[in-house]
């Protein structure tokens, strides 16, 4: 399978500006940060959650706890993923009970990742609320799931792919629209 790059959707500066805005929105809509915690979904949700937390510290001066969730065990499409899935640890160093959680991921597509993440969180306790924050919403939902905080909504076709590349994971920083050609 080959992919061709079609266009750049976001530059490094635009990613940063969008995350700043998302942080402001979260603080505004939550009436403060006291009961909030961010949960980054592996892999690229993790650096995004950390950056949003950093931005929130700048707004409210408060440290918002950040956790990491690996959803491999909760997927409903394991058999479709890879010959050998590799597990990583989840790291949520606080109780999720009665917290207002914000799940953070890079791209919202079918909604299945978010469904899996919520199942994972329920195994850890009973959060008061769970909301979803994504950098890109590309449509094509297969489940009744919507983001509470969206960086950008992008119309895409089935064969197009959103590639979010982040410094912490990919050593470059931009969002690309690419197309799969078979």
């Amino acid at each position: 399978m080959r992919v061709i790059e079609k266009s750049q959707l976001m530059s490094a500066t635009e990613i940063d500006r969008t995350l700043q805005r998302l942080a402001h929105e979260i603080v505004e809509k939550s009436g403060g940060t006291t009961n909030l915690a961010l949960i980054g979904i592996r892999r690229r949700g993790v650096p995004l959650a950390e950056r949003v937390a950093r931005a929130m510290r700048g707004i409210d001066g408060v440290e918002v706890p950040v956790g990491t969730l690996d959803i491999t065990l909760y997927r409903d499409d394991l058999s479709k993923v890879a010959p050998q899935p590799v597990l990583q640890s989840s790291d949520i160093p606080f109780s999720v009970d009665d917290k207002d959680l914000i799940l953070v991921d890079d791209v919202l597509y079918t909604g299945r990742t978010v469904r899996a993440a919520m199942n994972g969180l329920f195994d850890l306790g009973r959060p008061r609320t769970i909301r979803l924050c994504v950098l890109i919403d590309r449509g094509h939902r297969e489940l009744p799931i919507e983001a509470s905080f969206t960086g950008r909504t992008v119309q895409t076709s089935d064969t197009e792919i959103i590639e979010v590349r982040l410094e912490e994971v990919d050593e470059e920083e931009r969002v690309m629209l690419v197309e799969r050609v078979d």
Binding site: M1, L73, Y74, S79, K80, P83, T113, R138
Partner: protein, 360 residues
């Protein structure tokens, strides 16, 4: 994550079939060793494969402390447990591991089985296989039985102990316990006490820790520690035999106490009282080992025989961690061996995220 997304249907199915005998060609991250078709013993595994298996056990250790421990990951899968030799702990551990992953189990136990009616091993496992389990976990009193079965069935086999050959999941859970407590598997002085001749646990532990440069001192009654044991480890592995437990414990970082199988005490007769006098791990003797030495025991323990209760319950004892880690290791193996599959489903259009991940 989905490198073979463009494979044709047949190629995928074929490669899956081949992967049972050969090894699957690709993995999606460089750190991932090739997929294992079976877990028959520690001896054939590389140090990298062992570390990968231990790393994959980590998330399952976390799950043991969750309020809800049951996952749906292997929902719809069936694990056949065939214990041709009586077992309580290992069987419960495997069936709990399967249950916590959402898999169903079918159970065959020696006492109630048709083996008593003269059915051959091969006929018995073929009968089980005809009920379409996704994986077979087996224990047998004959060394090599799981390998024999693995060559004849199409599903992954996990060896849960075969004769005096190997007990790979025990080896892995011991390694996980040691690595958790001490941070590494490298270079420890390991004392193994008791009936080493008949112990598959000792063999799996020696194969495993030997790959990481550990040195072994074997100690027990002469009839249970024959000279041949000095050469059972990986090439270059340092194994020595000593007669006195005090000598074995001197400077030990890890002490593995084996169960005295009382049914074997009659072989060349050794009165139990003599064994206790000469070989029991007591607090006084344990002081000869390093102050932070770990004490492991595969269970079930004979308190007051091979181990003094004060040692078994002391701060250096890892016995209960071993049991909990056993669950994590077994969940990891079941997940790795049968957590994927579904030939047709693999043809579906890849998810954007998967492709994006694979592109890096």
């Amino acid at each position: 994550m989905k490198k073979n997304a463009s494979c044709s249907s047949n190629a995928w199915t074929d490669s899956r079939r081949r992967s049972r005998t050969a090894l699957a060609p690709q993995s999606f991250e460089d750190a991932v060793p090739q997929r294992l078709p079976h877990i028959l013993g520690i001896e054939p595994l590389s140090a990298e494969q062992i570390l990968f298996l231990l790393d994959q056990s980590k998330p399952f250790q976390e799950i043991q402390s969750h309020p809800l421990k049951k996952l749906a990951t292997l929902r719809g899968k069936t694990v056949a447990l065939a214990f041709f030799e009586p077992s309580t702990r290992t069987r419960i551990s495997f069936s709990t591991a399967a249950a916590r992953l959402g898999a169903d189990t079918m159970n065959l136990q020696a006492e109630a089985s048709s083996l008593r009616k003269g059915e051959s091993l091969l006929d018995t496992v073929r009968t089980l296989d005809a009920m379409k389990p996704d994986c077979l976990v087996m224990r047998h009193s004959s060394a090599g039985a799981p390998e024999f079965v693995a060559g004849r069935l199409d599903i992954p086999i996990i060896n849960a102990g075969d004769g005096a050959h190997e007990h790979p999941t025990q080896g892995l859970l011991d390694a996980l316990t040691i690595r958790d407590r001490r941070g590494t598997l490298e270079g420890w002085n390991v004392a193994i006490l008791g009936d080493i001749l008949h112990s598959r646990v000792a063999r799996s532990d020696i194969h495993l820790l030997g790959k990481f440069g550990c040195r072994f001192t074997l100690c027990g009654p002469a009839m249970w520690v024959p000279r041949e044991l000095e050469s059972i480890g990986p090439p270059g592995c340092a194994i020595r035999r000593v007669a006195r437990i005090e000598e074995a414990l001197d400077g030990a970082d890890i002490v593995i106490v084996l169960r005295v199988q009382q049914e074997r005490m009659h072989e060349p007769a050794l009165p139990l009282d003599d064994y206790i006098l000469l070989y029991q791990l007591t607090p006084q003797r344990l002081r000869l080992a390093r102050p932070d030495a770990l004490v492991l025991h595969p269970g079930p323990m004979n308190r007051g025989v091979e181990i003094d209760p004060a040692v078994a319950d002391g701060p250096q004892s890892c016995v209960l961690e071993q049991v909990t880690n056993g669950l994590a290791v077994r969940m990891a193996l079941l997940f790795l061996l049968i957590g994927t599959g579904g030939g047709e489903a693999a043809q579906e259009i890849p998810r954007a995220k998967d492709v994006a991940d694979a592109a890096h």
